[in-house]
Amino acid sequence: MLTFFIRRLLTAIPTLVLISLIIFLLLDLAPGDPLADQPLSIPPEVRQRMRDALGLDSPAYVRYLLWAKQFFWVEPLYFLDWVAGTNFSDGMQRIVSWQFRAPVFDIIVQRIPQTLWVVGLAYLVGVIIALPIGIISAYKQYSWFDQVGTFVSMIGFSVPPFFSGVLMIVFFAIMLPWFPSIYDTTLVVDDFQSLGQQIRQMTLPVMVLALQTTAQLSRFMRASMLDNLNHDYVRTARAKGMTEKVVVLVHVLRNSLIPVVTVIALGIPSIFGGAIITEQIFKVNGLGQLLITAIYANDLPMVQTLAFIFAVLIVACNLIADMLYGLLDPRIRYD
């Protein structure tokens, strides 16, 4: 297992470098212009000068190598300086966003708290609700609980957040003015009152997001439980006189978790990717909003960096999922 882990970790590095190159080429090929949001009253000559100032005219490989150097060398050094108080990175150019003319990482760090609060919490809530729903639905297949669960989760999944978000605002912010419709990112939680405020402003976006996660996960959980409930080992366990609780929650659940673990692991990177539409509706302005505005503004250094961080998380989470398979089902061999 350990050797497998180390081997996978080592193969991940060239994979990631390749992924970063492909992302770069893709972004370079995509149509778009970082000056698209500038007003038309700016004449073409001035636009050209602005483009030159951003360094857009150097050839693609130069820009890629520059980015790679900044990402893999300058930024870690800068981080080291920040932690240890050294000054290795003095005078080195960090990755600078075209929209903000500011280091990309400073802005990402600024965005992480609200993303984790809202998207992360929603994911956690979604997982915690989905698992019991899926288990009970499967155990009592076609009971009223199962039917209602199916109905609600299917509606939850087929209704896109651009609709459910606005609906929530109309109900719970306008008709019943219980919750704010706009997330205040400047709120500092330092006492009970501000904590209450934070909880209030998180409620609606978390509900919208958790609905999606719950719907999806509970379906997979249910299907997988159903597959296992009819297996011979379940009958054996029951015949041995084990309690229903142990049979279902220990034997069946453990064997049913493989697809669920996969789905959960796939979802974790997307927490950091943010929830683009929900963030936009409630103006949470987390990483999702950062990514989408950067894409629209063709802020390539920002998109490239975010996409690459995202890739690292995906590779890492999938590796973790692979490890978990081994724990859940010791028969899975890797060597």
């Binding site: 193969t11 994979t15 390749l18 992924i19 492909i22 992302i23 893709l26 972004l27 090929l29 995509a30 149509p31 778009g32 076609y142 039917q147 199916t150 299917m154 509606i155 999944f157 087929s158 209704v159 896109p160 651009f162 609709f163 606005v166 609906l167 109309v170 306008i174 379906r219 997979f220 299907a223 997988s224 159903l226 597959d227 009819n230 493989i258 697809p259 673990v261 996969t262 789905v263 796939l266 990177p269 990514l291 989408i292 894409i295 998109v303 975010l306 996409a307 690459f308 995202f310 890739a311 995906i314 590779v315 999938n318 999922a321 398979y325 859940l328 089902d329 028969r331 899975i332 061999r333």
Partner: protein, 307 residues
Amino acid sequence: MTDAPIAAVPAKPDTSGRSQWWDVWDQFKSHKGALFGAAVFGFIVLSVTLGPLIWTLEPTFIDIRARNAGASMAHPFGTDQLGRDILARMMAGGQVSIAVGLTAMLISVVLGAFIGVVAGFFRRLDTFLMGLTNLFLALPLLPLLLVMVMLFRETLARSFGPEMGTFILIVSAIGITSWMQTARIVRGEVLALKEREFVLAARSIGTPSRRMILRHILPNVLSPIMVSATLGIATAIITESALSFLGLGFPPDFPTWGRLLFDAIDYLQQYPERVFWPGLAISLTVLSVNYIGDGLRDALDPRIRGR
């Protein structure tokens, strides 16, 4: 494919020439939810395909004096902000949305299942295929779609005509960007299945890989695939509207359910019925497909069918 099933269900004594598919159908019939789902889905498909023959108003015809009208005999579902008949738009939109939803879902599920099975079964390909999956998961969607459209739109439009070309572009764009989850899930299941006793047994009698996959592995990963498929339809219908909205899909006056829903959101407070119809249609389609999937899954599982 169809001549082999006797070996697969040896426990079931066959009654005079009945093939396995009759059993499947019998089981499917006895599943109330599935029958109901099939009926609703059939109804939706029929009404969007045959409906326009009866309700002949043009979905793009603008009757400006009748704009924002409520339900009436002339317009049973009312009209939109330009006075276009919403019933006609729902039917025209349904054709596209269902076609896109099903086709894109099929592409994504077949691709995902194939890659997942191959990666899980053949260890040598695992690293490469999972690298590919990770790559696709990591690629930012919007630039990828923009590049695909830029590269292929004109070529496709030239060889298949503008409408068919756009359709092919959209379903492949959605399919190609949404197979990864299925692939990961299937692979995880296959990794575990591969070590089960029945697979070892089959291997010990020298079953070739191809048959092993088709006969022993695939039927056992069917239920997560089914779930991915149902969820995939909803995602495809919504994604299609996002694509058209970005200008990567159908022309702006071409209605689809996703687009109708999106356009109606600004009017949520004045004319709530306008979001209701497309929202209901999408939910019903997904729900009915889900029940059909449930029924199929039960029907295809010999352990349940035997009971």
